[in-house]
Structure formats: C-alpha cells, structure tokens
Symmetry: D2
Subunit: 341 residues, 4 copies
Amino acid sequence: MKVGIVGASGYSGEELVRLLAKHPDVELSMITSRQLAGQSASSVFPALRNMHEELVMSDSDVASLVASDIDLFFLALPHGVSVEYAKPLLEAGKQIIDLSADFRLDSADRYFEFYGEHPAPELLNQSAYIIPELADKSAFGFNLIASPGCYPTSLLVPLVPLARAGLINAQGIIANSMSGVSGAGKKLADTYLFAERNESVKAYGIPKHRHLSEVEEQLEKAFGAEAVIQFIPHLVPMNRGIQSSIIVKPKAGASLEQAYEAWEAAYADKPFVSILAKGQTPDTAEVVGSNRVDISIVEDMRTGNWIINSCIDNLLKGASGQAVQIMNVKYGFEETASLEP
Amino acid sequence: MKVGIVGASGYSGEELVRLLAKHPDVELSMITSRQLAGQSASSVFPALRNMHEELVMSDSDVASLVASDIDLFFLALPHGVSVEYAKPLLEAGKQIIDLSADFRLDSADRYFEFYGEHPAPELLNQSAYIIPELADKSAFGFNLIASPGCYPTSLLVPLVPLARAGLINAQGIIANSMSGVSGAGKKLADTYLFAERNESVKAYGIPKHRHLSEVEEQLEKAFGAEAVIQFIPHLVPMNRGIQSSIIVKPKAGASLEQAYEAWEAAYADKPFVSILAKGQTPDTAEVVGSNRVDISIVEDMRTGNWIINSCIDNLLKGASGQAVQIMNVKYGFEETASLEP
Amino acid sequence: MKVGIVGASGYSGEELVRLLAKHPDVELSMITSRQLAGQSASSVFPALRNMHEELVMSDSDVASLVASDIDLFFLALPHGVSVEYAKPLLEAGKQIIDLSADFRLDSADRYFEFYGEHPAPELLNQSAYIIPELADKSAFGFNLIASPGCYPTSLLVPLVPLARAGLINAQGIIANSMSGVSGAGKKLADTYLFAERNESVKAYGIPKHRHLSEVEEQLEKAFGAEAVIQFIPHLVPMNRGIQSSIIVKPKAGASLEQAYEAWEAAYADKPFVSILAKGQTPDTAEVVGSNRVDISIVEDMRTGNWIINSCIDNLLKGASGQAVQIMNVKYGFEETASLEP
Amino acid sequence: MKVGIVGASGYSGEELVRLLAKHPDVELSMITSRQLAGQSASSVFPALRNMHEELVMSDSDVASLVASDIDLFFLALPHGVSVEYAKPLLEAGKQIIDLSADFRLDSADRYFEFYGEHPAPELLNQSAYIIPELADKSAFGFNLIASPGCYPTSLLVPLVPLARAGLINAQGIIANSMSGVSGAGKKLADTYLFAERNESVKAYGIPKHRHLSEVEEQLEKAFGAEAVIQFIPHLVPMNRGIQSSIIVKPKAGASLEQAYEAWEAAYADKPFVSILAKGQTPDTAEVVGSNRVDISIVEDMRTGNWIINSCIDNLLKGASGQAVQIMNVKYGFEETASLEP
C-alpha cells in the first residue's frame, strides 16, 4: 500500500515521516511541502539519512496528489488548509487521515463557535473522529478520518469510560494540562524562541482553548448530557509530552473500584493504555517516544473529588502516532506496527 | 545590626547568603552548616567569591549561637529541626525569622493532622505568620516570625484580598501549581537527578500536600469561614519559579472590576506585587530573580468561574526574598533593600 | 535465542531492556538487579508496561546465571564488577557482551595506568573491542566482547578511517566533547541533581579522563604509531547525546577530498554512519533516539587544521544500541533489528 | 547624570534596562526601540513593573537623540547600525558606550576581512576597546567606547595576563566555547525555536567566527606578535552563560606557579575576576546573574599543554554588565554599582 504525507514541514509531519518510513506494511512514496519541494527527503529529515535516498520532496499541489497512485494520504496541514485538500482527494477516491481540526467535530455550529465558518460543512458528517481505543469498529470504514488533538486525547482516554459507566458527573470537570513546546508547532514567533520558553511556565489560551470543542462534543456523546469543561493549558519547558490533571465529581455511591473496573473493561487488552497501580502518578518522561497513555486516579477524602492524571507524547499518541495507529487498525496491520507501546 | 544564617547548605540558605551579604543595613556575621563547618564561606558560595573572605562557616551548635552577639537569626532548617533552635534562641532574647513550617500554623491540631505531634506547641501562639503585604503591622513585633511556604505565597497573595472583600466563595477553590525543581530542596534521591526531572512533568503530593495546612488556615481567617482547597502541585523542568492556576467561584453579583479594586486597594503601593493588565497572564520567567508576585484574573463566561494566575520565584518571594523583606519591614529598612522588584 | 541483562538498574540497562524486549530475533528471558529483585519487570520499566508481564526481576547471583538456559548475557555493570561475572559465565560457555570498561583494553599496563590493577588480566586478550563498522569480522567470534565507551565511539568513528588512510597526524589531536547528563549514569551525588546541572555547562575529568585509554589504544592500532590525545569532556544540560569537536593536523598534501573518500570507503554501506554534506555540522538532537553517528569535516585555511564534528546518542550508539548492533552482526540478524538508523 | 539606551528590544538591551533602572548614580531617562515606541517602559520590561511608570519608549530617530539632554548613550544595536548613530551623537558631544562590533577593531583591514567595508573607518581610532580589568586608565577618556563581545571576554580575561607575562606561545591556541542561546540574540529563525535548541548541542560558525577578529587583535597587542586562534563555538541548551575551554602551549620553562602569579598580579584586587583554587573548574551556573569571570588552569603532563577554563554570563560580563562596569569606572562610581560580584 502506498502512503503519502501532505505538509511535512512541521513537527507532526516529521514524526509521520519517521514512523511511516520504517513501517513494515506500507510504502512511503510521497512527502509534500511547499517550502521544501525539490529537496531530497533524506537531506531534510535526519531520520531518513541513509534511508529512502530516492525520495524527493514534492510540491503540495492538489492536482498531482489526485493524479498519483497513493492510496492513503496523511494530511499534516494547518487548520483550514486540510479541507482544501480533503475535498478533491475524497472525490478522487483517496483515503485520508487528517491531523488538523477541520473534521474533528460533527456540529457545524460548534465549529463556528470555536473556529468560524466551516468551508465544507457537508464533510463533517462524512468523517469519523477516532481514538482507536474508544471508537466503534464501523468508524474505521470512513474514507475521511479525523485524528484527535493532543490535549483531547489526554483528557478523553481517562474520562470517556468513566462517563459511559455513569460514574462521574458531566458538570464540574476541571482540567489543567501542561504541554511541551512542540505542541505549539514550528511557529516563528518571539514567544517560541528558546530563551523565552526555557526556564518558564505560563498558562495560555484561557478561558476558551479551541480543543475544548472536540473534548466537549465527545464527552457529551459519552455522558448523553451537556458537558462544560474548565480547561487551562500551560506551556512547560520541554520538547514533548502532555500531563493532564483532571478533577471530577463522582456520582453518589460511585467507588474508585468501579472506576478501575470501567478502565479495565475498556483498556485491559489495549497495547497503548496503561492503568497505573494505586499510589503511582504518570510522568511525561515515561511516555515520550511511545504511543502510550498512562493514567491514574486517586480519591481526595477531604473534597470528595477524584483526581485523574494522564500522560502522553503529544507528537505520538497526541498526533502522528495515533494517526498511524488508526491506519494500522483500519487496514488490519498489527496495531503496534512501527509504534512503541 | 548583626545577622546569622543557621543551616545554609540548602537552596534557600544559599539565597539568604547572597541577599544578606550585599544588604546595606546588616552585617552577615555568622553562617552555620554542620557539613561545611570550618570552610571559608567564600569557597562554599560562589556569590561570596571576592567578598567576605574573612567569614568562616560555623558549626550549628545551639550553645554558640546563644552566646554570640548576633541580633537576628534566619533559620533555614528542615521542618522539625527549627524548633530545636528557636526555643533556646528566643529564651536568650534573639530575634528569629524561620523559613521552616514549624511555626506557620496557629492550630496544634492542624499541625498534627499534616505533620504529627508539635514538639513545642506553646510557641505556635508566640509566633506570627507574615506575608508582608497582608500582615498587620503588629505582627512584625513578634520575636519569632514564620516566613510562609512557596506554594502558599503564590496562592494567598491573589486570594486573600478577594476573600476579605467577600467577592469569592470559600468553597470549591481549586489550585494547580507548577514548581521548578529547586522547590524540592537539595535532596539526594533518584527522583531529583537531572536525567529524571529534565524533559518531565508530573503531579505529586496528591491529594494532601502539607502546604494545604497553612493555606487553609490563612484563608479561613480571610473568609471567616471554613475553606477546603483542592490543590495539585507539579514538578516542571526548570530551576526556579512557581506558577499557580487557581479557579474560584465568584459570589453572586461580584464583578471582575470589584476584584481588580480589591487587589488595587491591597497592593497599589506595594513594590513586590504587580497586577497584570487584562489579557496578560504571568510567566515565571518574568519573576525569577525578583521578589515580585505577578497576578492576573480572567472570567470564564462559559463556566462562571474566575481563573487567577500568579507567579513567583520560589526561592525569593517563596522563601529567602520574603524572609529578607520581613526583616526590612520589621526594622524599618527600605522594603526593597537587597531585593529586586 | 535467549538473552539476559545483568545489572539493569542504570540508564544503559534500561535502554537494553527497551531494545531487547522488542527485538524480533531474541527472547529477553532474564533481567537482574540486586535492588529490584522480585519486582515485576513491567512495573520497573515503563517501556514494558503492557508487555512481558510474566518477567520478574532476578537477583544478580552468579550461580543462577551460570545455571540458566540463557545463551547471551549483556553485562551493564560498573567497572570492576563485570569481571566478576564474566569469568564464571565464560567458563560455563556463555556468550557475553560487556558494556563496562573491564575488557576494552588489550594492555594490562594501560589498564593499570587508568584504572588500577586488573583482576583478571588473562581475559584482556580473550576479548574483542568492537565498533561494528570498524572491527574485523573475526572479532565477532569472541565469546567475550567489549562494547566501547560513549566518548570513544564519537571519536573513533570519524578518526580511524583517516588514520588508517594516512591522512592525519597521530600527534596533536585535540578533542572537546559535550555530553548529556545521563552519561554520568544514575549516580546519587549533589552534582547530578537537576538544579545543579540545569542551566550549567562545565568541563570535568581533565586532564586525564579514563576513556582516553581506549581511544589511544585504538588510535595507535589505526596509526601504527603512538597517539597522545588532548581530551576535554563537558557536561551540558540535556538528557542524552554527545557532540565531539575534534581538531586534527592533516599530513602534508592530504586533501579534504581524500578524507571524504576514506569515510565513504569505510561507511558507504553502513546504516548507522552518516557523512554530512559540506557546510553541515551535526546536532545531537538529530541522532538522539537513533543508533546513528553523524560526522562532518571542514578545513580551516587560517590554521591549516581540519575540524571534525560528530554526534551520537550516548545511550544508544554510545552504549546499549551499539551492544545490540554487535549482537545483530555476530548472530547474523538484520543489523538494524530493533534499532533506528 | 542622564543615560539613554538605544535599541532596547533585544536581550542585552533588556539587561541594560534592568541594570540602569536600579543604578544609584544615573537616571535612566530614555529607552528607544522602533517596534516598541509609544508603549510604557514598565509594560514592556517586567523588571520595570512597579517602577519608572512615567517612562515611555521613544522612537530611535537620531535627531531627537541628538537634541536630548542625555549625557551618555548605550547603543544596543545590530552591527552596522550602531555606526549610523555614533557619528552624529559624537558630533553633538554625547558620550557613547557601544555594545556592537562596529568599533571593536583598530584595523579597518581586519574589519573588512570579517565584516566587510567599514562605513566610517576614521572612527576606529577615535574609539577604545575596553575590558576594564585590562585596559589603560587613559582608554576611559574616549567619548566612544566599544564594549567587548561575549566570547572575546571569556577568552581575553584569562589569556592576556599570560601573554603579557611571556608565559605562553602566541601560536597553537585552541578555544572551544559553549554559549547559552541568548547569545544568538532575539532572532526569529527556525533554528532558535525552543524545540530546536532544547536537548541539542552543536558547533556552529566554524571555522571563522567574527569574534576571532577582536580576539586576535587584542592578543597580538598582548603578545607583540601575530596570533592565529583556532576557535569553535557551540550552542548549548541554556539561557545564559559561556564556558570556554582553552588549550595553550606554555613557553619553555614557564610554570603553572608563574601563571597564577600573572593572574594574581592582574586581578588580585578586581571584584569581577575570581581565580579558582587548584582542582576546581568553573561552572556557568556559578556566574549567571553576576558580572564575574571565573577562571582556572591545569597542566596536562601527558601533552605538555595548559588547559584554561573560564565562565561568564554572556549578557552581563559578556555584554550589558561589562558596559555598565565601563561606565562605573569612567565616571568614578563604585565599580560594582548595580552589579553583582
């Protein structure tokens, strides 16, 4: 099977290159980037040094993508740009796994509230939002699949099984997340310079970060009820990793044992979710480089709240690793192919 | 005036040395440390290279401290050890500013709940807990002053004026704080090795961190009501700095303008508190090296909560800088002497 | 084939666990550690979460290693301890790849000069020192193989082909290397605490770092002449990676083109050496996580010197990755099995 | 005395603001920046929060600088821009301390070789290059003073006394320096993004970094002979600090004791140079925040070389601190005013 990556100049594009270049079941036969077109891929990506020396970066023009013999495209494009590629590629019968926010929501109204007018709202219901551990098998049949955002993955993996099991309240959920700086992408702005972000931690994007839209839409499906989340993201001085600290109110009578049971039922045989033993809390350092989500839960007797912590690598389970995992499941490859558990 | 530092081998001890050595109004005439006794102070502390070359590290035995001509001692000792020094020094008529948790609480019961039996509970009411911007003038008259903890300072500075003004609820306060690794002290444990903490963020000390005891005691005084706080501290890979993200529920009818007014009333003429303009959030990088607290507030229309952010340097306003500020105010020195605003 | 890791509590031990657990051709059936004996391996190593849940950490007693059905042992033990295991294991017919310095030298005199009396000097000539790209095929036949040190690998890979080709002088070689802090191992000492090493760079181990012994022995073989190297190592605040800046004096008439030719001849078909294009210099960030060595060379017209730069991941090509590569070649597995180029 | 800072948007500009705002002997009455003109200085610089609230950022037009009542201007401008300001300001009788490279050389030919045509070569001999510990008293009388570069300061402070004393050879000096990322300035380029420079070390600017020009010119004066230096700078992942490892060849018969004597003679009473005890090597962490240079020397018996290490804070002794120190000496203020030793 031939795969292509559209828009490989950013951090998740680069991770896709690394993962797909060594994947045993697919051939990485196209990598596009406007800025880098014409350069050899092995000169652009250190991970390709000594590998794929024949591969040359292509321009990102839609017509040649449509005309190519690529079966599956990964779109690693900015929000609002993906849609311009998705439409013609779908019409040409290509399969798409999109890493942008363009197809993560069902509701055009919600999209409007957080991002503005959607340029192709009819596609919102022709696409599936897939966290592989939580999605229906049927979702993998869609030709257009939205790979979730990094913060949402860190929040939904621990929360959805508890919501589905009726153990926690939909209201009053509070999430504080800390992200490594690669989460901001490769943006040229003063604020992302080394000497600005090093030895610094700060909150940003409050009170209404865009990722809330997909978190709330997914939680409402899981709860069967409206969910308004208080979410505070922070930048911390490390390259990769997200740590989320989530405070939830258990329903009357719900016990921590039931919470563990709900997690076990959802994740017991899943290679990329690890439920930590009581007393342990996850550490981003333990998941960086892997596609794993590590989760823990503890009860605070003084407040009655449950405190949930989760960690992921924002560029792997939070972006490119999850996209490859989606492909693995969709095409029946080994789920862990090219990924570290 | 002659001052001494007892227990100078840790990070706050070292900061005290730096601040007091260059202080225009006091003479740093004694530095004690069991491990370092007998060495020249200028060989131990890089900040003293080329300075105070006559000063030799003393042993920490109580008798010689009592017999000395030092007027004021700063105790930079572990919790439970300070009390062993405070008692005889007080009896000998010395003044004390203590950086440990030994005298931060009024209530022996609360102390017991968080730390165990207090060895000298009678001292709890002979000592004052002082954040200089918030304490009564009378508090500075005590011979034994407890300098507050780092997390508590970052929480109490923004919260107390709002609590006193009756603008926020005592219940439902949630604080997530991120601390640089020096906050853990100079402890020899695997978990504090560079390669463990670098490129890592994790929550710890949940659900019942010891600093909750002083935060709650102080907030209860400010609210005139019980306050149970949900507090989640995190270690982030930087040397210094604390960022706190605090979620509070405003009282019915309370407005953000009133919150700013309460802050202005409390801090307008205070050199070490900076109320950020609307739309700005503080950054630890902007306070490291200074004794300042930067605070901001924003309303979340979706949840009805207020989000407060504050930043301090944990070793300065969170420890040694605040202790020096207490001395400056107590003795009528310039409040900013030896400190950067 | 069954493999075991002896002494897995340090950083290179942990990397060996990760690499061997996912290796397609071997079964990781024993991991020993005195401190961790009895614990499940998947609770000790995050990389084994959800994997190898049956594996329990063993004690490191020699008798049970000898009695086991393990074919090949990786020794990740401190210098001086490896030899205690190597002797009985060899006598029991086991194969050994040793990551310590115990068998890296041929000369007992040189060993004595840098490390003291060797406890089993007869083994020095029953062992092979193998950088796979540079060693004779015959070396892989030894039952006891010494995997090279991290600094030596970063120096020998670029230097040996130039020395063998007679292009550079054996005298006057000067190497300045910068290492991430994991290079110091998981040692509990003040100096390796996060807040000591972060935001810090310093030289150490001058003028006579122990790694000089193996560098000089190998270079003397390559030059056929005595080589005394000036070597200055430095610790820099990152987890992994070594960058070496090497200054050499070309022989009269030697050209940079000949240097590239010598490198090409040695490394053209090697998956783990990448010769950078003119004008590029290597970056540790580009090799961390891979088993690659990136090398570059430039001529300084003003001084007549050549400046060589090389980068490796100190825990992979500088330790555990190289050990696995040695195994791969020795047993005829794919050279890149379990390793990223 | 009134001072102004021209071009305060970069890192050394910001340090100048911090140092001059709290200086006891001068009034910081103008700060210019094209981008920031019109904003209040206290909103731009966190160090001015709660201070100098009256100060408004000015535009950088030459005419208004000339017309102002400022006595002394600090120029924190890019190379090639300073000269445009220096000329008219000098003609208007203003004093200038320039932090750029525009006036660091005497020789227009050397300037041409490293930077291109000098736009006002006649000024090269109307300006003085001043490292305060090494310059003649007469140099401070110049109206135009060039504050040295960061790497040159770290190299010249240890080398010049040894050169003047005739203890080392002018030829064969090799310097490897590691700089924190602020050394590159606040440049918007991919390579200076946090996620590019963090967890990375690399050499750059080889073989002919521009700072060589001033190092060699100053060393030639000290040696009275041509000096060609091999210099390799590296970027390491920290905000501030430079560590230089320098290899020199002692003259026949020269002893380490003589080296220490030469250093003592030059620096015994200097507050900002610290000669470390034998066996110690400097650490950037120990000088960051101070204006100090820490230096050490060791002899390598195997190679016959001396190894010198030095550390500075690149933004203080390497830039703005040194500029303020120059002012302090020039105007007879306390040499350490506003600076930490």
